[in-house]
């Protein structure tokens, strides 16, 4: 394989991988404060992008993206208030089923609010045909936006969780719910906040990738599955590991094309996931005994 082709595979792997990583981080934010895996995470990505596309027709792009993230965050809060909070004695099984239901409802709503057609945000810089040459490979400038956004989100979130009061409160809930409650943290509202944050992050991701991947009402679920795969590969709850796992899976998928038909690309990713679940349920980077068996 010539070097420029290898570099090209690397770039497409890293692009796809960082998209997965952002979705996985969205999973982790909610998982950490609530112990819930929100199967509707992919829908936040779609909602964010769709809203931004609608808004972008009426206002500057940056404003549209910001507003879309805000609106999606509110939808996230609404999802928590309407569907998660009222669940009594929420077992993991029940919460999984509820979030799956939410995912289906959001998807169908998107279908009927928008339509079945494909939409895309305009490129943030340049156009469809612009490409940047890096190490002998060609990439779209939007890819750099995706990578930048991913890095920014990771950095922003770690600052948020380390240095801000709400961030610390959310971490406290993750570490020990009861103790957090005793310290006067309103745990219930922290859960709502985590849904908002995660929806907002998802929406941002949706906006950055929309020019490259395009957006359609039903692309949420496949994205969510990949994001979930990455979250587990990295070890549930560990966002830095999720980035590493995302890039790893992206690269794996990119290079798998050179060996297997593209039609089996998902199979490769999921076989890896099943193998990890089988042998290292705590993820590639997690401690062997940590999280291995969540309570049911």
């Amino acid at each position: 394989m010539p070097t420029d082709q290898i570099v090209q595979y690397c770039f497409s792997g890293i692009t796809v991988g960082s998209i997965y990583a952002i979705v996985a981080i969205g999973f982790n934010i909610i998982y950490n404060t609530t112990g819930v895996i929100n199967f509707a995470q992919g829908e936040f990505v779609v909602l964010g992008a769709m809203t931004a596309i609608t808004l972008a027709a009426r206002m500057p792009l940056a404003l549209a993206v910001g507003l879309a993230a805000l609106i999606t965050a509110l939808i996230g809060a609404l999802v928590e208030l309407l569907f998660i909070r009222p669940a009594k004695q929420p077992t993991v099984l029940r919460l999984i089923i509820i979030t799956i239901g939410v995912s289906i409802l959001l998807r169908e709503t998107a279908l009927h609010v928008w339509d079945e057609k494909v939409h895309a945000l305009p490129f943030f810089t340049g156009t469809e045909v612009s490409s940047v040459t890096l190490l002998g490979a060609h990439v779209s400038p939007q890819v750099l936006w995706v990578l930048g956004a991913c890095a920014l989100i990771v950095a922003g979130l770690s600052l948020f969780f380390k240095f801000t009061l709400p961030g610390r409160a959310m971490r406290a809930c993750a570490a020990n719910r009861t103790a957090a409650q005793l310290c006067g943290i309103k745990v219930r509202w922290m859960v709502t906040a985590s849904f908002m944050l995660s929806a907002g992050v998802g929406a941002l991701a949706g906006c950055v990738i929309s020019p490259v991947t395009q957006t359609q009402y039903d692309m949420g679920a496949p994205l969510a599955i990949k994001g979930f795969t990455v979250a587990i590969l990295g070890g549930l709850g560990n966002s830095v590991a999720a980035v590493a796992a995302g890039l790893l899976l992206g690269l794996l998928e990119a290079f798998s094309i050179s060996l297997f038909p593209l039609a089996y690309q998902d199979v490769v990713a999921i076989v890896v996931l099943l193998a990890v679940l089988c042998f290292r349920p705590s993820g590639l980077f997690g401690r062997r005994d940590a999280h291995a068996f969540g309570e049911f």
């Binding site: 057609k117 490129f123 469809e128 490259v212």
Partner: protein, 387 residues
């Protein structure tokens, strides 16, 4: 327990007895029932949604003009979500319960093939909107299709390639009925046109990134890429190729015939070459062209009513309904066997896809003449001319 036994005996009797009483003869008055099975939602909604809209619009128009043979057409639309199991269920429902004269659709090949035998056995006319050749090959007397032959589209592409001196190509196809049917035809006709398919990849319709696959094909030193699909990935292919600096001509199938994809592809879509019906270039057609009037009318009405652009697929529903109405008129009756015979004898029916000429052995009725080679210039469709 006694009661149970009587039940069992009665039930057994009705089982051994077999079929229930035959349906009554076709009523000579009242509306003519036509069933539609479209994948209005689900993975093939880009086909089914415009088909449904078109069918509803056209039936309204026909009925407003007094219907066919003085009878109104009653349309019963079912959303199969692109799944054969629902298509089968709806086919039974439409035939047994509604007693429809004909079924228009399904939108996808898998569904059409799944209900082909059901329609044939029940002597209900099927006018499929899907691509696969297998729908009308081998010919089943009651089964027709209106979508143009993939084989013709493939031959048009290869002919253009030969003119350009292209010998070595890469093929991409979506993993759905449309894409696979096209890929099959490309592979079938490539050898006789002396074109080598150096690499081919099949991708999921929901794919969001094709740079990997294109990179692989790029590594095969091809002179052109053919993409065969109906899905948004058509714009993605164009974009990804430009991003990769992969500078060879991009050919697409007639599935590209939707201005949405050109818009989604933006500047990257410019220069794409593809075969298509004349719907997209209706305004460019000379005044005397047989399709000009039909196409302009359909376009105008559809766009006024639904505020969206027409697509080839909506056109399929238009053609199917037009053919059916024409056949009923010719037959002078809505009896299935007479209408069927009439369709087989239809000649020169002008539709959106072209001029249909059916025969006993050709239940598709449309050939090479259905297509023109088009290209994209400055975000608009234009006739392709070698320069």
């Amino acid at each position: 327990m006694k009661c149970l036994q009587w039940f069992a005996i009665a039930a057994l009797a009705s089982v051994v007895g077999g079929a229930w009483a035959a349906e009554g003869a076709e009523p000579a008055s009242g509306p003519i029932k036509v069933g539609c099975i479209f994948s209005v939602t689900g993975p093939a909604s880009n086909l089914g949604a415009p088909e449904k809209k078109t069918a509803e619009m056209l039936v309204e128009k026909i009925n407003a003009a007094g219907g066919v043979l003085g009878r109104k057409i009653q349309l019963i639309v079912k959303d199969s979500e692109g799944t054969p199991e629902k298509a089968i269920s709806f086919a039974h429902q439409l035939i047994d319960e509604e007693g429809v004269l004909a079924i228009i659709g399904p939108s996808t090949s898998g569904e059409s093939l799944a209900i082909k035998n059901i329609c044939q056995e029940n002597k209900t006319i099927l006018l499929s909107c899907a691509a696969a050749e297998k729908i009308t090959d081998p010919v089943a007397p009651y089964v027709f299709k209106v979508a143009p032959k993939d084989a013709c589209a493939a031959q048009w592409i290869f002919q253009t390639m030969k003119e350009l001196g292209i010998r070595r190509i890469g093929v991409l196809a979506s993993n759905d009925g449309f894409g696979l049917a096209g890929k099959e035809q490309l592979e079938k006709y490539a050898p006789q046109d002396h074109i080598e398919i150096a690499g081919s990849e099949v991708y999921d319709k929901a794919t969001t990134d094709l740079t990997g696959a294109l990179n692989k094909i790029k590594g095969q030193n091809v002179q052109a890429v053919v993409n065969w699909s109906t899905v948004p990935a058509q714009a993605l292919v164009a974009k990804n190729m430009k991003q990769l600096g992969f500078d060879v001509p991009l050919f697409q199938s007639h599935g590209f015939a939707n201005i949405k994809y050109v818009q989604a592809g933006g500047a990257a879509a410019n220069g794409t070459i593809f075969p298509a019906g004349r719907m997209l270039i209706a305004d460019l057609l000379p005044e005397g062209h047989p399709q000009k009037r039909v196409l302009m009318e359909y376009k105008k009405e559809y766009e006024a009513r639904y505020h969206e652009d027409t697509s080839t697929f909506g056109g399929h529903a238009y053609d199917a309904l037009t053919i059916l109405a024409e056949a009923i008129r010719k037959a002078g009756s809505a009896a299935p066997e007479k209408v069927r015979d009439a369709i087989e004898n239809l000649q020169g029916v002008v539709g959106t896809a072209g001029v249909f000429n059916f025969s006993k052995t050709d239940h598709n009725g449309i050939g090479m003449a259905a297509f023109e080679m088009l290209t994209v210039k400055d975000g608009k469709f234009a006739l392709y001319k070698r320069n």
